[in-house]
Symmetry: C2
Subunit: 140 residues, 2 copies
């Protein structure tokens, strides 16, 4: 079993959003997130070419303002709710703060994709984009 | 916009599976994947404590045998299908090969979780676990 070697993520782009303050950001994308842009790096342009407006995709981000030492949280930051282990919550604070965001591509201008319902903060690194899989139609 | 700083993932555990050969592994977890175990590191035990058998979770892995330089693939490795950009496929080969696996926890023995429908290879690093969110019930 391989247990060595550094695992380094390389951003493929960055989020552009009016959201800049974590305390004010919605907790999930369908809780009032504004429109935002995914601005991709030129180096990955060839990987983007089959995405079109209307596609629903899962955007993976690196939540760079999260606290990686947290293992227990009050769900939804509500101190009246008992603490839970982070792996049964969607807390941004966790050992590897990877964000999963299901969004719809509203429009595309070159390597800039406008999306709906993205709650990530401005400047958040994007690390991957995957299609939403349905049970009917799957592509590897 | 922050564009500097290394992003390093720290494994929180490893997959134990009879699958060892990428060429023979199913492409999606519901295409005949065997039962497998998630073996978590002691350091993250406190984050696991509210997970119970029957929970459906999303396991995030680092697909350490993937090729990070690939931007176009034939979907499902079928050369008769035209190449697509990797971000409209679920190819393991992509700039940041993070695997998303929706699995059900079958049983728990300490920090070892038995799961169904996990197509990851033996020894694959686990980097995160998140609950499946439904529209009805959400926890941050």
């Amino acid at each position: 079993m391989q247990r060595r070697g550094r695992i380094e993520l390389r951003p493929i782009g960055w989020v552009e959003s009016p959201l800049t303050d974590r305390a004010l950001a919605p907790r999930q994308g369908d809780e009032g997130a504004p429109e935002a842009w995914l601005a991709f790096d030129e180096a990955v342009a060839d990987g983007l070419r089959d995405l079109v407006p209307g596609n629903e995709v899962i955007v993976l981000t690196w939540l760079d303002r999260a606290d990686r030492d947290v293992l227990r949280v009050h769900p939804r930051d509500d101190p009246s709710v008992p603490q839970q282990g982070v792996f049964s919550t969607r807390s941004a604070d966790r050992p590897n703060p990877i964000g999963l965001h299901r969004v719809e591509i509203a429009s595309i201008e070159g390597r800039r994709f406008r999306v709906r319902n993205l709650e990530a903060l401005d400047g958040t690194p994007i690390v991957d984009v995957k299609p939403v899989l349905s049970r009917r139609r799957r592509s590897r």
